[in-house]
């Protein structure tokens, strides 16, 4: 069990719901991953349309907790209004706050992010800010009222994995008591295991599973990698050494000459 802000979760993997080949594969991937939190969004509905209803019905049937996002918002106003609309529709005060600052990298506008986080925290939201690995921005987000931080490890959808291990390690060291979730940029289960070994509390990913040749198999693989990384972190890993150390006892070794 993983206690995230007072909510007991059965998995340290949070999963996005976009880009799957079909709703059935999405549902199977959610189950195979073992996740208990999925991210969703709000988009324009067609007149007379039922797309939203069908998707919402599917998600509710999965019995997982919902983390709505403000994906695609480029201003504080857009993000705040979207968050409020999400709270009404999804019935949760959890919000994955995205304020995008650059079209190419999809990196967060950290100035707008802090401003929007303050407005939403003051309004009773539990804000999960999608941020960079910058320590000063992280401090500002905590001051704004955030209780959890979600740094990227690489640009959204890039599958690059952790490109700045030092920054992630530094973040973990500076905020030992703040839940830290790596959000965005993971491409392989080994990437997830790597950041979990650093002591991150959880990972959030979407594209690496949804766009895999077999999303259900990849969901299972990521679930195992997250568990393995966490257990390794908890078990105390050996520090690397520059010299060889024999693993077999040398005492009692036979001498033949």
């Amino acid at each position: 069990m993983f206690d995230l802000l007072g909510t007991n979760l059965s998995s340290r993997l949070l999963l996005g719901t976009a880009q799957y080949p079909s709703p059935a594969i999405l549902a199977d991937a959610v189950k195979a991953s073992g996740t208990s939190v999925v991210t969703v969004s709000l988009r324009r509905e067609m007149a007379g349309g039922r797309a939203g209803e069908q998707f919402w019905s599917l998600i509710r049937s999965l019995g997982v907790k919902i983390l709505p996002n403000t994906a695609g918002c480029h201003s504080v106003k857009e993000a705040v209004t979207t968050a409020k609309m999400a709270r009404e529709v999804f019935g949760t005060s959890w919000i994955k706050l995205e304020v995008i600052g650059n079209h190419d990298t999809l990196q967060p506008d950290v100035f707008g992010l802090v401003e929007a986080a303050r407005i939403l925290c003051d309004d009773g939201f539990t804000v999960f800010p999608y941020t960079t690995d910058d320590l000063v921005v992280a401090e500002r987000l905590l001051e704004a009222g955030c209780k959890v931080l979600m740094p990227w490890c690489a640009p959204i959808g890039s599958a690059l994995g952790p490109v700045n291990i030092m920054a992630l390690r530094s973040m973990r060291g500076h905020f030992p008591d703040v839940p830290l979730i790596v959000d965005a940029g993971l491409g392989r289960p080994s990437h997830a295991a790597t950041v979990m070994e650093l002591g991150f509390d959880a990972v959030l990913l979407n594209t690496a599973i949804a766009r895999a040749a077999d999303p259900v198999g990849m969901a299972r693989a990521f679930g195992k990698a997250v568990d393995a990384g966490r257990e390794a972190f908890s078990s105390g890993m050996l520090e690397p050494r520059d010299v060889a150390v024999p693993s077999t006892p040398t005492i009692g070794r036979a001498v033949f000459s």
């Binding site: 719901t17 976009a18 991210t39 969703v40 509905e45 007379g48 939203g52 998707f55 919402w56 009404e88």
Partner: protein, 65 residues
């Protein structure tokens, strides 16, 4: 009255937001509405008076990462 609904121009007789939703065949408790970039709660749609030129967003749950 000329309105912009989800980015498209409409000319409708609806006086309130609730009437607009009905006129355009929007129904369901999974919809969220905003007028001129501010949330209008479901409970307030019947009283919310629309004005010429208003920009309305009607959103519903969708896949997201």
């Amino acid at each position: 009255m000329k309105l912009t609904v989800n980015g498209e121009a409409h000319e409708v007789a609806a006086a309130t937001l609730a009437e607009l939703l009905a006129a355009l065949d929007y129904e369901g408790d999974w919809l969220a509405t905003a007028v001129n970039s501010d949330l209008v709660h479901k409970a307030n749609r019947a009283e919310f008076q629309l004005s010429d030129g208003d920009r309305i967003e009607i959103l519903s749950p969708m896949q997201g990462g």
